[in-house]
C-alpha cells in the first residue's frame, strides 16, 4: 500500500518506530543486557554510578539500570494493552453509533461526551484507590475505560461519513449483511485513524500509569518506570543527590510517549493529506522573461509561452504547455476543456494564486502595463482585485463562514484604499443591486445564503473595484441549471455595461459557445483551437473540438445514436511527442501527427488550430485519407444506431 510506503518514508515515523523497537527488544532481552535482578536487594543503598552499577543503586540496594530495563516491560505492556483495549472500545462504540444510527447513536454520543469531559486522571485515581493492590490489570482496565472516549468521538465521525459513502450504499444494495458492511467495507477504510488512535491511547495510558504509580495507587511492588519514580520520591532520591534515579525513568516515559506521539502524528498526516502536504523544494526559478510589452499591444492580457507544472517527487507534471493567449478589452474569452486539461491551472498561474507544488516553469503574463509574473508580493497585492479579480469554482466555500457578508465585501475595497464607511456602504448596496440580491443580505452570514446567492455575492465582490479583467473558473458548475442561467445572464449584462474583460473557464462547451466572444479549447495542457464562438460552433477545425461538439446529446431533432471520444488523455508527466490527441483522434495521420513537433496553424480569419490537417507542408492526399476514414467510421455508427437507439 502506498500509505505504508509514505509512512516509512518520513523521518518522524522512522524515529518513532525505531525507538519503540529498540525499547521492545531491550526489555525482552533484559537478562542479556544486565546481569542483575531488578528486585534483588543485595547491594548497598545509594551506590554511586560505577562500572558494576552503571546507574548506581536504589535506597533499597537494587540496581537502577536493571530496574530501568525490566521496568520497560510492564510500562510497554500497560501502554500496549490499555491502548489496545481503549482503541477496541473506541472502534466498537464509534462503529455501533454510526452503523445503528438513530437512538443508539444519540445514546452513545451522549456517553462519549460525558466521558470526554469527566476529568480522567482524578477518576482513575479515585477508582484505583478502591481497586488497589491487584497487580497491573486493574490499572490497565481503569485506564482503558477512562481513555476510550476521545478516540470514539473521532472514529464515530469518520464512520458516520463512511456510512453515507456511495460504496457502502452500493454494498447494501448488493445485499451485503451488517457484518460484511462493517468489517469489509467500513473498517478497512478506518485503518489509518484506528492506528493513530491506538498510539494516542497508548501515550495516555503510559502517562496515566506513571501518574498513578507515582502517587502510590496501583501496585507499587511491581517494577515499572512509574513505580521507580514513586520509590525514588518516597526514599528521597533527590535529597540524597541520586538525581539519576528520578531522571532516567521520567526521560524513558517522555521518550516512549514522544515515539507514540510521533507515530500518531505521522499516521494522522497520511490520513489527512492537507497536514502532510510535503514541502517539495522549489527549484530556484529562473527569473521569468520580462513580460512588459510582450504580445499584442492592443490586448489587455497577453500570455506568452506559459509553462506551468506540478513538482512531484517523480517527474514534473506539465499541466500547461507553451500556452499563448490574448484577451482584448471588453472581451469574454471562453476557455474549455475536460478535467485535467490544465484550464484551472492556467487560471491560477495567471492570477498568481498557484500554491506549491504548482510552479510557473516559464513564459510571461502581461496585464495592461503590469508584468504579472515579476511583481513583488506587495506590488502584487496592490494590483490584485483592482486590476483583475477572480471568481472561484467552489463558491460555496470561498466566503469566510464566520464573518458577515458585509465585512467580506468591504475588506476587498478597504485593502485598496476605500475606507469611508458611507462610501463602502453605498458601493456595497450598488453591487448587490447589480447582481440581483437584496441589500439586507449584507448583514447575513454565508451559511444563511443559498448556493446561487453565494455565487452572486462572490461576483459582486469581484466587481467591487471595477477591475479590467475577471477570471471566472467554473463559476456556475455547482449550481442548478435555472440558477446557472440567471447568473450567466447577470454576468453578461454587467460585463457589457462596464466593459470588463472576462476569462470564462468551464467544461461545458455548449454553454461557452453560447456566451463567449472567442473560445479557446484546451487539451492536455495545450490550446488546440482558438476561434470566435460562432465560427467554432459552425466550423470546428480541430478533430477534438469536432468530436467534443458531437458528444453533447442534442435537445432537438431526431434521436440518433452518437458516440463519445474513446480513450483518455495522455499522462501529463510524460513527454508528449507530436499531437497529444493522436491516440483518440478519428482523423489522425500516422507518421505525421505522432512524429512532428506540435505547431499551431491558421485555419480561417481569427481561427487557429494545433492540428496537422492545417499544416500546408503535409500532403493533401494524406489529409483526405484521414478525413475519409473518419467519415467511414461515422457512417457505421449511424447505421448501427438506426436499429438500436432510434426507438421513436
Amino acid at each position: 500500500m502506498s500509505g505504508l510506503r509514505q509512512f516509512f518514508g518520513q523521518p518522524r515515523s522512522l524515529v518513532g518506530a525505531g525507538f519503540l523497537l529498540i525499547l521492545l527488544v531491550a526489555s525482552l532481552c533484559a537478562p542479556l543486557i544486565t546481569p542483575y535482578d531488578p528486585n534483588s536487594l543485595e547491594f548497598g543503598p545509594f551506590m554511586p554510578l560505577s562500572a558494576q552499577h552503571w546507574l548506581g543503586t536504589t535506597a533499597l540496594g537494587q540496581d537502577i539500570f536493571a530496574q530501568f530495563i525490566y521496568g520497560a516491560r510492564l510500562t510497554l505492556l500497560v501502554g500496549a494493552v490499555a491502548g489496545l483495549i481503549a482503541t477496541l472500545l473506541s472502534v466498537t462504540f464509534g462503529l455501533a453509533a454510526a452503523y445503528l444510527g438513530g437512538r443508539v447513536d444519540e445514546a452513545i454520543n451522549t456517553l462519549i461526551n460525558v466521558f470526554l469531559v469527566l476529568p480522567g486522571l482524578p477518576l482513575v485515581i479515585v477508582a484505583s484507590a478502591f481497586l488497589r493492590g491487584g497487580g497491573v490489570w486493574p490499572v490497565i482496565l481503569v485506564i482503558s475505560f477512562t481513555g476510550w472516549a476521545f478516540g470514539a468521538r473521532v472514529l464515530r465521525a469518520q464512520a458516520l461519513a463512511l456510512r453515507e459513502r456511495d460504496f457502502v450504499q452500493a454494498a447494501v444494495v448488493a445485499g451485503e449483511g451488517p457484518g460484511r458492511i462493517i468489517f469489509r467495507e467500513m473498517l478497512p477504510n478506518m485503518a489509518g485513524l484506528i492506528a493513530a488512535n491506538f498510539f494516542g491511547a497508548a501515550l495516555y495510558a503510559v502517562l496515566s500509569e506513571a501518574a498513578l504509580s507515582f502517587i502510590g495507587v496501583g501496585d507499587v511492588s511491581l517494577v515499572t518506570w512509574g513505580t521507580m519514580l514513586y520509590w525514588a520520591q518516597a526514599k528521597g532520591a533527590l535529597l540524597q543527590g541520586a538525581w539519576w534515579w528520578v531522571a532516567l525513568p521520567g526521560l524513558g516515559i517522555a521518550l516512549l510517549g514522544t515515539s507514540f506521539a510521533l507515530l500518531n502524528f505521522a499516521i494522522d498526516e497520511i490520513s489527512n493529506p492537507k497536514l502532510g502536504r510535503s514541502n517539495v523544494k522549489l527549484p530556484a526559478r529562473k527569473k521569468p522573461a520580462p513580460g512588459a510589452g510582450v504580445g499584442n499591444p492592443d490586448a489587455l492580457l497577453s500570455i506568452r509561452d506559459l509553462n506551468v507544472g506540478y513538482l512531484t517527487p517523480g517527474p514534473t507534471v506539465r499541466a500547461v504547455r507553451d500556452v499563448s493567449l490574448d484577451v482584448q478589452p471588453g472581451e469574454l474569452l471562453g476557455l474549455a476543456g475536460e478535467s485535467g486539461c490544465g484550464k484551472s491551472t492556467l487560471a491560477f498561474a495567471v492570477t498568481r494564486l498557484l500554491d506549491p507544488p504548482g510552479a510557473v516553469l516559464g513564459g510571461s503574463v502581461r496585464l495592461a502595463e503590469h508584468d504579472l509574473l515579476n511583481l513583488s508580493p506587495e506590488e502584487l497585492r496592490r494590483v490584485r482585485w483592482k486590476e483583475f479579480s477572480m471568481v472561484f469554482q467552489a463558491s460555496m466555500n470561498v466566503l469566510n463562514p464566520v464573518l458577515k457578508i458585509r465585512e467580506q465585501v468591504y475588506d476587498a475595497m478597504q485593502a485598496h484604499g476605500v475606507t469611508d464607511k458611507q462610501k463602502l456602504d453605498a458601493r456595497a448596496r450598488e453591487l448587490f443591486d447589480l447582481v440581483g440580491i437584496q441589500a439586507s443580505y449584507l448583514d447575513a452570514y454565508p451559511h444563511q445564503l443559498s448556493g446561487g446567492m453565494k455565487q452572486r455575492v462572490v461576483i459582486a465582490i469581484a466587481l467591487a473595484l471595477e477591475p479590467k479583467l475577471i477570471v471566472m473558473d467554473e463559476p456556475t458548475t455547482a449550481l442548478d441549471v435555472v440558477v446557472q442561467r440567471q447568473i450567466l445572464q447577470e454576468i453578461n449584462d454587467v460585463r457589457r455595461r462596464l466593459g470588463i474583460s472576462i476569462i470564462f473557464i468551464t467544461h461545458d462547451l455548449s454553454l461557452l459557445v453560447e456566451m463567449s466572444d472567442r473560445v479557446a479549447i484546451m487539451y492536455a495542457g495545450e490550446v488546440v483551437e482558438l476561434a470566435p464562438a460562432h465560427q467554432l460552433y459552425a466550423h470546428p477545425a480541430h478533430p477534438y473540438t469536432q468530436q467534443l461538439m458531437n458528444s453533447f446529446p442534442p435537445m432537438t431533432g431526431p434521436r440518433t445514436r452518437r458516440s463519445g471520444i474513446p480513450g483518455k488523455p495522455p499522462s501529463l508527466s510524460a513527454e508528449i511527442v507530436g499531437c497529444p490527441f493522436f491516440e483518440r483522434c478519428n482523423k489522425r495521420m500516422p507518421g505525421v501527427c505522432d512524429v512532428k513537433p506540435l505547431q499551431t496553424f491558421p485555419v480561417a480569419e481569427e481561427q487557429t488550430a494545433a492540428c496537422f490537417l492545417y499544416d500546408p507542408t503535409v500532403s493533401p492526399a494524406l489529409k483526405e485519407n484521414a478525413i475519409r476514414d473518419s467519415q467511414h467510421v461515422q457512417m457505421e455508427v449511424s447505421r448501427e444506431s438506426a436499429h438500436s437507439a432510434n426507438l421513436n
Binding site: D166, F167, Q169, V173, G175, S510, L511, E514, M555, N648
Partner: protein, 351 residues
C-alpha cells in the same frame, strides 16, 4: 393532503398488457427528520409512476427535487414514509427482511453518481464484482471467469488486467463501467441509475450512456435514469418524468415532454439549458427566485411562487395531473378545462 390518485400511465411502450410493469410506485412519500414530530422535510411528496419492462424512464429535476431519494426508496436504502412500491405487480412489503429483502436486492440494482465514491478503495475490482454473485448464490465454479465476462461486457478488456486493479488505478470512465458491471452482475430486472454520467467528462459520457442502452437492450432491463440534464434524458429515455420540490409535475414520452413541455417548470428547465444553436444569444428566463424550502412548502402548487403564469387558485391546493397528450400528463391548473374556458383566448400555456 388528499389528492386524486393519478392513473398510472402504462403507456404505448408496453408491448402487451399481459406483462406486468417492472416497477410501479403509488403515492410514494418520504418525510425526513421528524421522529414523530411535525415539520419534517417532505423530500418525496406522493409520487406515482410506472416503468414497463424494457423501458427507460428518465427522472429529471434539480438538486433537492427528490429524484435521488426516490431511487433510494426503491432500492430500500431508505424506508418510505407511506405509499406503495410494486415489482412485477407484487407489492414490496413495508417491513422487509429475509427472503423478501434478498429478492428485492437481486432484482433491483443501482448505479451511483460519483464513480470515485462508489467503489471501495481497499478492494480490487474482482472483489467488487464477485460479492454480488456470492451473496445471491450465482457464483458457479470459477467466479473469475464470471467476473471476466462481466468486465468484457462493459467494455473493459482485456478483463484479466482490470480484475486485479484497485479503483485508484482506474480513470473515472473505467470506474463507472465497473459500477455498471456490479449492477449487472446479479442479472437484475430494474436498474436505478442515479446521475451515472454527470461526474464524468463530456467526451466519455456518451459512451457510458451508449453502453447502458446496449446492455438494456441485450438484457431486457428496465431502467430509472436520473439526471438534471434534459438533453441526456432525451437521449436515454423512452419516457420522462419531471420532479419539482418532491412533487411529480409532468410525465410523458421523452420527446413529447422535452420538445413540447406542458408544465411551466419544465418549460423553465428547458429554457435554461444551454443552446449553442439557438442563435448564440442568451435567452431571458422569466421565473426568478429559487427552489422553496422543503420544510415550508406552500399548500398549493410548489412552483406557484416562481411561476410566470400563476393564478390565485394555484395557491388553493396541489393541482391534479391533467392529460395533455397521449400518455402525457402535467400537474398544472392551466390545463383545467374550467380555467381554460374562463381565461378564454388570453394565454395558453402550450405554445
Amino acid at each position: 393532503m388528499s389528492q386524486p390518485t393519478a392513473p398510472i400511465s402504462t403507456n404505448a411502450s408496453t408491448p402487451t398488457n399481459t406483462i406486468p410493469n417492472t416497477l410501479e410506485i403509488v403515492n410514494l412519500r418520504k418525510v425526513f427528520g421528524t421522529r414523530g414530530k411535525a415539520g419534517g422535510v417532505v423530500a418525496v411528496n406522493d409520487v406515482s409512476f410506472a416503468i414497463a419492462r424494457g423501458e427507460v424512464l428518465g427522472l429529471v429535476g434539480e438538486s433537492g427535487s427528490g429524484k435521488s431519494t426516490i431511487a433510494r426508496l426503491i432500492a430500500r436504502l431508505y424506508t418510505p414514509t407511506s405509499g406503495e412500491i410494486r415489482l412485477n405487480g407484487q407489492p414490496v412489503p413495508s417491513r422487509l427482511g429475509g427472503r423478501a429483502l434478498r429478492h428485492l436486492r437481486k432484482n433491483v440494482q443501482m448505479i451511483f453518481q460519483d464513480p470515485y465514491a462508489s467503489l471501495n478503495p481497499v478492494h480490487p475490482v474482482s472483489y467488487t464484482l464477485k460479492r454480488p454473485l456470492q451473496i445471491h448464490g450465482l457464483a458457479r465454479g470459477d467466479t473469475e471467469e464470471q467476473v471476466n465476462s462481466l468486465l468484457e461486457r462493459v467494455g473493459l478488456s482485456p478483463a484479466s488486467t482490470y480484475a486485479s486493479k484497485r479503483p485508484f488505478e482506474l480513470s473515472g470512465g473505467q470506474r463507472q463501467r465497473v459500477g455498471i458491471a456490479r449492477a449487472l452482475a446479479v442479472r437484475p430486472e430494474l436498474i436505478l441509475a442515479d446521475e451515472p454520467t454527470s461526474a464524468l467528462d463530456v467526451s466519455i459520457r456518451l459512451d457510458v450512456m451508449n453502453l447502458m442502452l446496449d446492455l438494456k437492450d441485450q438484457e431486457g432491463l428496465s431502467m430509472l435514469f436520473i439526471t438534471h440534464d434534459l438533453a441526456g434524458a432525451r437521449y436515454m429515455s423512452d419516457r420522462v418524468a419531471v420532479l419539482y420540490a418532491g412533487t411529480l409535475v409532468e410525465i410523458g414520452p421523452a420527446v413529447e415532454v422535452i420538445d413540447r413541455p406542458q408544465h411551466p417548470y419544465t418549460q423553465l428547465l428547458k429554457s435554461a439549458a444551454p443552446k449553442p444553436d439557438a442563435g448564440l444569444v442568451p435567452e431571458t428566463i422569466e421565473a426568478r427566485g429559487e427552489v422553496p424550502d422543503l420544510k415550508t412548502l406552500p399548500p398549493g402548487c410548489p412552483f406557484e411562487p416562481r411561476c410566470p403564469h400563476a393564478l390565485p387558485e394555484c395557491k388553493a391546493g396541489l393541482p391534479r395531473m391533467y392529460d395533455v397528450g397521449e400518455g402525457h400528463t402535467a400537474r398544472c391548473i392551466l390545463h383545467d378545462p374550467a380555467v381554460q374556458a374562463r381565461r378564454g383566448q388570453e394565454v395558453g400555456v402550450s405554445r
